[in-house]
């Protein structure tokens, strides 16, 4: 009679566990990691180290790997963690969930097991009401597993992202390719920083495009940051490398609460709340036709001159930015007279509407800085749908119930005044500088409509037009608006910071009630 083989002891078992864990942590192996580095990209795990506060990352699914869909042998060593590192950790002391696609494992392709892991993260993010972060560097769906009509059961990730929208912040950091349908991950996310040169996103990758339409292109030419951060507006920030990208993710999160029931953390500042900003008088020319850089104005108003712009290189005629006022996170929507005179077009309206919806969803108060000559008019913009895009901005600003403060620096013309939170849009405070020009249109436009017959009948029509324009100009005066109590006050520009801070404080307990509805029908 032979003795049964002795069961392994706990020491042996834990040693075997360590081997498995080390194998998974080694990702696609040193050769592929070397390739990743030579492309100026960090690995998924190096990126997570930069995202999380040191030592706070807890991983789920380290020991997962691909399984054969065709009954063949599984090869765990080929697909450590099934190509996506998933887990939770702290960012500035607050917990977030993160999925980092690992390009060293089957080009970061999205396999079935990996997607189970990410789905679990999304559910945890919703259960615990905490942000969800994707670090994308992936060839897309793993076609070996996905081709064929079992596709019929797929796609729930986007449905879930839509349910998450406005409940928890979602960030999709673009650190490599993100081709095909997975490009809807950034498409639905709240914040999408892109690394220059290495990242790209497109609904069809270059090979698919060639097969579908015959067009010859590359992933980068079609969907790099030079497209999405400048032209399409899908990207929110172009950064030089992975480290800058992850720093941007951390910074973005710092301005938002963990979910829509909380407010963003307040940050201590030594910047005095009543600091006078005397430089503003020099920065903003009194001549209303002269341009200036509104970013300089914002920097001087904000706590510690610290401003975090969203989409700084897209639709630059409007500025959307986070900053803090007396430590409180605030969303700023400001005209940029330096670009297109600060006039609004379709991209500017989209950019602002999206930002206002983001801030309102996450209880971030809004400050509007107006120097807006109006919406661009003419045949070109009508073809582009300026009416529906402009209406979208009206819609977002009207819907926003967070504290709203409006400052009219100079121009506030026509619908531009409306969409930048004019009196009718329930700003909690609306103040103007003495240089403010609030009117449905400028004097020259107005005389041609009001006095067309008089001008035509005059001996010298040009002189008559100039004289009449002068009369109209006199009616464009902020003190008239103030005398009708249509603006709350006219302020010394140097007091703007103090006024913004006091106004935001005054509106903190605001709880507007709106008629019940399932949802509005926003123009898009």
């Amino acid at each position: 009679m032979t003795e049964p083989p002795e069961a392994p002891g706990l020491d042996e078992l834990t040693a075997a566990l360590r081997v498995r864990r080390e194998r998974s942590r080694a990702m696609g192996g040193s050769e592929r990691i070397g390739q990743q580095h030579s492309r100026h990209k960090l690995t998924a795990r190096e990126r997570m180290d930069l995202l999380f506060d040191a030592g706070t990352f807890v991983e789920f699914g380290l020991l997962a790997h691909q399984h054969s869909m065709t009954g063949g042998a599984t090869e765990p060593e080929r697909t450590p963690a099934d190509g996506v590192v998933t887990g939770e950790g702290l960012v500035d002391g607050r917990r977030v969930y993160c999925a980092a696609y690992d390009f060293t494992v089957m080009a970061g392709s999205m396999g079935m097991i990996g997607e189970h892991k990410v789905a679990r993260l999304r559910r945890k993010a919703m259960l615990n009401r905490l942000p969800m972060i994707w670090l994308l560097d992936s060839a897309g769906a793993r076609i070996q597993e996905a081709a064929g009509s079992t596709f019929a059961g797929s796609g729930a990730l986007f449905f879930e992202q839509v349910q998450m929208s406005g409940v928890v912040p979602q960030v999709a950091a673009m650190l490599g390719p993100c081709a095909a349908g997975t490009a809807y991950i950034p498409g639905l996310a709240d914040y999408v920083p892109m690394v220059k040169e290495t990242s790209s996103m497109s609904l069809g990758g270059a090979r698919l495009v060639k097969a579908a339409t015959g067009e010859e292109t590359t992933d980068h030419a079609m969907g790099g940051s030079q497209v999405h951060c400048y032209v399409s507006g899908v990207g929110d920030l172009e950064v030089d490398d992975d480290a800058a990208c992850l720093a941007a993710v951390r910074e973005f999160l710092s301005f938002l609460p963990s979910n829509n029931r909380e407010t963003a953390p307040r940050r201590e500042t030594s910047d005095p709340r009543d600091r006078r900003v005397d430089e503003l008088a020099k920065l903003v020319p009194v001549n209303p036709r002269a341009a200036y850089d509104m970013r300089k104005v914002i920097r001087r108003l904000a706590d510690d001159a610290h401003v975090f712009e969203i989409k700084p290189t897209f639709a630059r005629n409007i500025i959307t930015a986070f900053a803090r006022f007396d430590g409180r996170s605030v969303g700023i929507v400001a005209s940029q007279p330096m670009i297109k005179g600060g006039a609004l077009d379709i991209d500017a309206a989209d950019k602002a509407a999206r930002f206002v919806w983001l801030c309102d969803a996450f209880n971030v108060p809004l400050v509007f800085l107006q120097d807006v000559p109006g919406f661009i008019v003419g045949t070109e913009v009508e073809k582009q749908g300026i009416i529906r895009h402009g209406a979208k901005m009206l819609f977002a600003v009207s819907e926003a119930t967070v504290p709203k403060v409006t400052v009219v620096l100079r121009k506030a013309y026509g619908a531009g005044y409306y969409v930048m939170c004019g009196r009718g849009y329930e700003p909690d405070t609306l103040v103007a500088w003495p240089t403010a020009e609030i009117s449905v249109m400028g004097p020259e436009g107005a005389v041609d409509i009001i006095f067309s017959k008089q001008i035509a009948a005059a001996d010298d029509p040009a002189a008559a037009r100039a004289a009449l324009a002068g009369t109209v100009r006199e009616t464009i005066d902020p003190f008239i608006a103030a005398s009708w109590a249509m603006v709350d006050d006219i302020i010394d520009p140097a007091d703007t910071r103090r006024v913004i801070i006091e106004s935001l404080e005054g509106a903190e307990t605001k709880r507007p009630r709106r008629a019940w509805r399932k949802h509005g029908v926003p123009p898009v």
């Binding site: 036709r289 297109k340 005179g341 070109e380 400028g442 020259e444």
Partner: protein
């Protein structure tokens, strides 16, 4: 070579450079009058102005090439 284009429709108010003139990136070539503002049209590259394709007082369209810098 760069084709300098108007960013929006407007009245071309002033041309401040001449053909043959050397310019630096971001220099103003012309000033457009539009939407109650004086809007500078700047060159995206440094080089020499080789062509001016518009005249003062002319209405230019969004995207219209107004000058060439090489």
């Amino acid at each position: 070579m760069a084709e300098v284009k108007a960013e929006l429709v407007g009245n071309l108010w002033k041309i401040v450079v001449e053909v043959g003139q050397a310019v630096e990136e971001d220099d103003t070539l012309m000033i457009l009058e539009s939407m109650k503002m004086e809007i500078p049209i700047t060159t995206p590259i440094s080089g020499t102005v080789t062509q001016i394709l518009v005249a003062e007082g002319q209405v230019v369209q969004e995207g219209q090439t107004v000058a060439v810098v090489e």
